[in-house]
Symmetry: C2
Subunit: 77 residues, 2 copies
């Protein structure tokens, strides 16, 4: 994977972090995944090691949990 | 301020996040501050809203707390 993936759930903390991340690394370098719009991506995120959102998975597969919006359990509820 | 500032305290989580951030946004776009080497920057970070490290303060002044290495209280101890 050559892009980072930013997973979020639409919470205010998530949206704020999304704007920051896009400004910092450029919108062409990051795919935005909103679980509220596409819950089918949740297992993929969990497999990548995402424990809470918002989170950024880097091209090398590292997970950066940014601030704290919601746990993955909350997202699935 | 035109650069982001990445504050950390040398913990393994911090170092890992530092490498990721530098790769993502470029080393010319971020100043790295290590509290273990320069504790005098701690008040500046707290004033910026940093609650734990590692944290990235964006050029617009937003604070992104990334993963969790140590609280600011731990850093000062």
């Amino acid at each position: 994977m050559s892009k980072s993936v930013f997973y979020h759930a639409g919470c205010p903390v998530c949206i704020s972090a999304e704007h920051d991340i896009i400004k910092l690394i450029g919108k062409d370098n990051v795919e935005i995944v909103h679980f509220g719009e596409d819950a089918s991506r949740i297992p993929e995120a969990e497999n990548a090691g995402v424990k809470s959102v918002p989170a950024l998975v880097t091209p090398t597969g590292n997970v950066l949990h940014i601030n704290f919006g919601a746990s993955m359990e909350d997202v699935k509820a």
